[in-house]
């Protein structure tokens, strides 16, 4: 009946219908290139130049994002001035973990969106939740074509007067929370952020900054792909500020107590 999975035309199902195990190209959509032999498309990549953790924290009156400025080429610290946190508009900021090329691809598209919106001149500006939802759709669709954008994004901003923080990963898993961390941050920084927020759910801007800085420091100690050069973005009703090239103090005194290895 189903003669072989490689045949594109299978009369027993429907004319020009799907063969088992293959993608069915719905009429009217553009087709990504396929190998004519198997018809099965797999272009899942491995990332090349990557960024590590991004941290996001909601405080009383706004939200803060933090991340380092490193683009790692495997284990090499190749690009040490990459801005992985960008301002989208006066109420939204975007941070990216993962492949930098994929991030830059999306960044260009988002920047064009902002320009188009400005040209439309209708008084509407992109809200953080809208950007988050759009990103989710894009990433999920790419994943469904086995051609993901190899990133995890944090969207932060002020939505209708309230702070908003959302996350989407390369397979389209999306959620929002008051504290989010990607990459190694999820294992190392998130517990610290949870502890901080449990003690004081409505932190001040200064307390949030101190907590994030401490998390960044621990990540610099414990993540091989981290750099001691960071960006911190703060979004409040007043607007967006992104500080670049922040270097943290580190404490290595414990090294003096270690000799040998037993």
């Amino acid at each position: 009946m189903y003669a072989n999975p490689n045949s594109i035309i299978n009369p027993s199902l429907w004319p020009n219908g799907p063969a088992p195990g293959c993608f069915f190209n719905f009429p009217g959509t553009s087709v990504t290139s396929t190998s004519s032999k198997s018809g099965i498309i797999t272009r899942t990549q491995s990332p090349v130049t990557t960024g590590t953790s991004i941290l996001g924290l909601v405080f009383d009156g706004g939200v803060m994002l933090a991340g380092d400025m490193l683009g790692s080429y495997g284990s090499m610290a190749k690009f040490r001035s990459i801005e992985r946190i960008i301002k989208v508009n006066n109420s939204t900021v975007l941070g990216a973990t993962g492949d930098i090329a994929d991030f830059q691809h999306l960044k260009a598209i988002i920047e064009q969106k902002v320009i188009d919106e400005d040209c439309a001149d209708d008084g509407f500006t992109l809200k953080p939740k809208a950007l988050h939802t759009w990103l989710t759709r894009v990433l999920y669709n790419r994943r469904s074509k086995f051609d993901p954008l190899w990133n995890t994004f944090l969207v932060a901003g002020i939505e209708d007067g309230e702070p908003y923080l959302g996350c989407v990963d390369k397979i389209g898993t999306a959620f929002s929370d008051s504290k989010i961390a990607t990459g190694y941050g999820a294992h190392i920084a998130l517990p610290l952020m949870r502890e901080g927020l449990e003690k004081k759910p409505q932190m001040t801007k200064e307390e949030a900054r101190a907590l994030l800085i401490n998390c960044l420091r621990v990540l610099f100690y414990r993540d091989c792909r981290a750099l001691n050069k960071h960006q911190i973005a703060t979004i409040t009703k007043e607007g967006v500020t992104i500080e670049n090239n922040i270097e943290l103090d580190t404490n290595w005194e414990v090294a003096n107590f270690v000799i040998g290895y037993e």
Partner: protein
Amino acid sequence: MACMMSSMSTSDLLSSDWLTSEHSTGTSIMAVEFNGGVVIGADSRTSTGAYVANRVTDKLTKITNHIYCCRSGSAADTQAIADIVNYHLEFHEVQLGEAPLVKTAASVFQELCYNYRDQLTAGIICAGWDRRHGGQVYNIPLGGMCVRQPFAIGGSGSTYVFGFVDSNFKQGMNQDECVQFVLKTLALAMSRDGSSGGVVRLGIITEDGIERRTVLGNELPRFYEG
């Protein structure tokens, strides 16, 4: 896995990189001869995948009072080898009745690293001082060859500084110049290699034994960081 560039591993909950990778002294190590002894140096990072298992590791391991080794590669393999070499040299010293030669230690390292080359991932620099030949540096890379060099660099971080050392090494440097040379080289390697970092541990081995120094992360020389 140990200290080589590989494609990024996906970290999902079932097989994160730090669960499946072995402890590796990713590393930048170095040793330089001078008239009267050697200067040895190493970074202090032990990594399991991309997690820093130990940020204050001591990779300068004692073999005798005047012979030390710098370890790179698998932490387990190099510790095991160093322990065995330590045993052999201690025994040899008792039999000999005097301090053993650096060449002897290097030779024992070579025997182990060569005969077990398929099972080991160990890049070792054996350096020290003896009365007969003064300061010596022996490089014993992955396959188990052994070669004496005026200076040696090793570990994953060394790949980033071959140009620097080739253009900056001079014969006949004194002890302080060697120390600065090692510090600058290791600082450069640590700033580019993700598997190296932390503090720089130095050892200056002369007739009087070893003088250990630690240069903390925030005191290291700084270079272009763009």
